[in-house]
């Protein structure tokens, strides 16, 4: 058994008892990366020298008997769209191939304060646009459970690295499902926090009104520890919320007696595979045994979420990605006679096909004459979708359904038609549009590939989401399964 198979609290105990050292954890992480990363290709950049030095420094702190926090010395991987000072940050894009950030994202600063050790940067679909990691400009990360399958996306590298035991946990980001869907496909735990819960300062922006940074872990408990470190208001992000951060780990009581669960009929209907549906029905039986009650509910505007999402997220992306113009950072073309040509050729050569497609869609939706018909209409539909959730949450504590309509799909299976790929996110996208928190926890296997259970909560009620996820996890053993690599 690898040291990294333990949860953080156990490792923390071993560190304090001086049975292990931080260096052992960091060694184990790089050893595992050497063994398996050539197979799954999760990492884009390693921070080996710094990580090992930091481990030695932290070992001295433990040796000195200092009281240190639960995450102190734990090896973590960071999605490559979260900036890390002096560690290359590419967003999976040629246009940022050699970008060397000059500051840390607030989330990374918070982790550094908590004492985690950054092992390296993890692969992703370019700028977060994709559901399979096949849109990375550099490499395709593969699913640790079966190398013919995708790990999901866009935080595919972050989920695969945790599932393969290369790091104890990782950070991802979720704009339309990019933490939860890969967590489901790789059999790990991934949380998208409430919009505003975690600062987005230093998260390279794709769709600012939808995205959040969140933790990907092997257990719900580790996830809760990480959110405690990450959450909170930040003067550098005016959309971060000034709402008290609870001790999430204290909500992991195992007690869900009397909990009211709403199960949207739209999440078990058309387009959802039998495997995914059945795994959720089985999970509901487990929750019932623990004292929860569930009823069928409706989120009537669910089927419009995908359209609204692609219009809104692409519109925001077209504005956010305007900054990549070859002037201040990133790639610049050699082929330009004047400034405008430099912009156009830099962007044509630096961006991949999916990114260009979405910039085009967004520019179109925001352009004169189309704004009301597409962008404003999508914002109005967003209001209806948000209202759907508010109505259900008046009577129910959480909403439960599958994370994704199917288990992981094969490489190349959905690359020919963009709409087929987009449809993979139908069950995660509404959560981003409503801004509520959602977690994916392992809930079964189909053909050797993991399935995910999605638990959605009220705004800023991650505590209840964690409580339910933890109670379910403790009553099942899916999270204990590991891929053979």
């Amino acid at each position: 058994m690898s040291l990294l198979d333990h949860k953080a609290a156990d490792l923390h105990g071993l560190l304090h008892k001086k049975e292990i050292k931080v260096s052992d954890l960091v060694d184990e992480s790089f050893k595992r990366i050497n063994q398996v990363d050539h197979k799954i290709k999760a990492f884009l950049t390693l921070n080996e020298e710094n990580a090992r030095q930091q481990a030695l420094m932290y070992d001295e702190k433990f040796a000195g008997g200092e009281k240190l926090g639960a995450l102190f010395g734990m090896p973590i991987g960071i999605k490559d769209n979260i900036v890390t000072q002096n560690i290359r940050t590419t967003c999976g894009s040629r246009i940022l191939e050699n970008f060397d950030p000059i500051y840390d994202a607030t989330a990374v600063q918070n982790l550094n304060k908590a004492g985690t050790i950054t092992i390296g940067k993890l692969n992703m679909d370019e700028f977060g646009m994709g559901s399979s990691n096949e849109n990375s400009a550099f490499q395709k990360t593969l699913n640790p459970w079966n190398l013919d399958y995708v790990p999901g996306g866009s935080s595919g590298g972050s989920a695969a690295a945790v599932a393969a035991g290369e790091v104890l946990f990782s950070l991802g980001s979720d704009t339309g499902g990019s933490i939860r869907q890969p967590a489901a496909f790789c059999g790990v735990v991934g949380l998208k926090p409430t919009y505003g819960r975690v600062s987005r300062f230093g998260l390279v922006a794709f769709a600012s009104s939808l995205e959040q940074i969140g933790p990907i872990t092997r257990t719900v408990e580790d996830n809760a520890y990480l959110l405690e470190a990450l959450a909170g208001v930040d003067s550098m992000d005016s959309t971060s919320a000034n709402v008290k951060v609870p001790k999430y780990t204290e909500s992991l009581t195992g007690d869900i007696k009397g909990l009211k669960i709403g199960v949207p009929k739209e999440y078990l209907g058309e387009g959802v595979s039998a495997e995914s549906r059945n795994s959720v029905l089985e999970a509901l039986k487990v929750l019932e045994k623990l004292g929860a009650k569930w009823e069928e509910v409706s989120l009537p505007h669910s089927k419009y979420a995908l359209s609204a999402y692609y219009l809104l997220s692409s519109s925001e992306a077209s504005a956010n990605l305007a900054r990549f113009d070859g002037v201040r950072y990133g790639y610049r073309t050699d082929n330009a006679k004047n400034l405008i040509e430099m912009y156009k050729n830099t962007r044509a050569e630096g961006f991949g096909d999916e990114v260009k497609r979405r910039i085009m869609l967004g520019t179109f939706a925001l352009s004169s004459g189309y704004y009301d018909a597409y962008y404003k209409k999508a914002q109005q539909v967003r209001t209806l979708i948000k209202k759907d959730f508010e109505d259900v949450f008046e009577k129910y504590d959480v909403i439960i359904g599958p994370t994704a309509p199917t288990p992981a799909f094969k490489l190349g299976e959905k690359t020919t038609d963009p709409l087929t790929m987009y449809a993979n996110d139908i069950l995660t996208i509404p959560v981003n549009l409503a801004g509520v928190p959602g977690i994916s926890v392992p809930c079964g296997f189909a053909g050797g590939l993991p399935l995910g259970l999605q638990i959605i909560g009220r705004h800023f009620d991650e505590s209840t989401v964690y409580r339910v996820a933890h109670a379910y996890e403790q009553a099942t053993s899916f999270h204990k399964e590991k891929p053979y690599l």
Binding site: T239, V327, L339, E341, M342, M360, L361, Y374, V381
Partner: protein, 96 residues
């Protein structure tokens, strides 16, 4: 009926400052047409008196004290610039 023409695609690409080849124009016209056609299902919904949501949280005018703080060091900032000279970022000529 096609929702977007090749001519429009070229116009949008110019607005987005993206150089696209004729082949890309053809592909993008087809793909955007399919996506926009799909998105038009939103027209099934009556949204006449529905307020648009641009942001999910009730937050307005987030202000802070106007205090001077140290900016980023120029040397650091220029580290990632493709071309610079004498502490400035250099770009190709604007006029030919």
């Amino acid at each position: 009926m096609s929702r977007i023409s090749a001519h429009q695609v070229k116009h949008v690409a110019n607005l987005a400052r993206l150089a696209i080849t004729d082949e890309e124009t053809e592909t993008l016209t087809k793909e955007l047409d399919a996506i926009i056609t799909f998105a038009e299902q939103l027209n099934e919904l009556n949204t006449e008196n529905v307020e648009p949501t641009s942001h999910v949280l009730e937050m307005k005018n987030v202000l802070r004290e106007d205090e001077a703080a140290k900016g980023l060091p120029i040397k650091e900032v220029l580290k990632n610039a493709p071309d610079s000279k004498d502490g400035h970022i250099r770009v190709p000529s604007i006029m030919e």
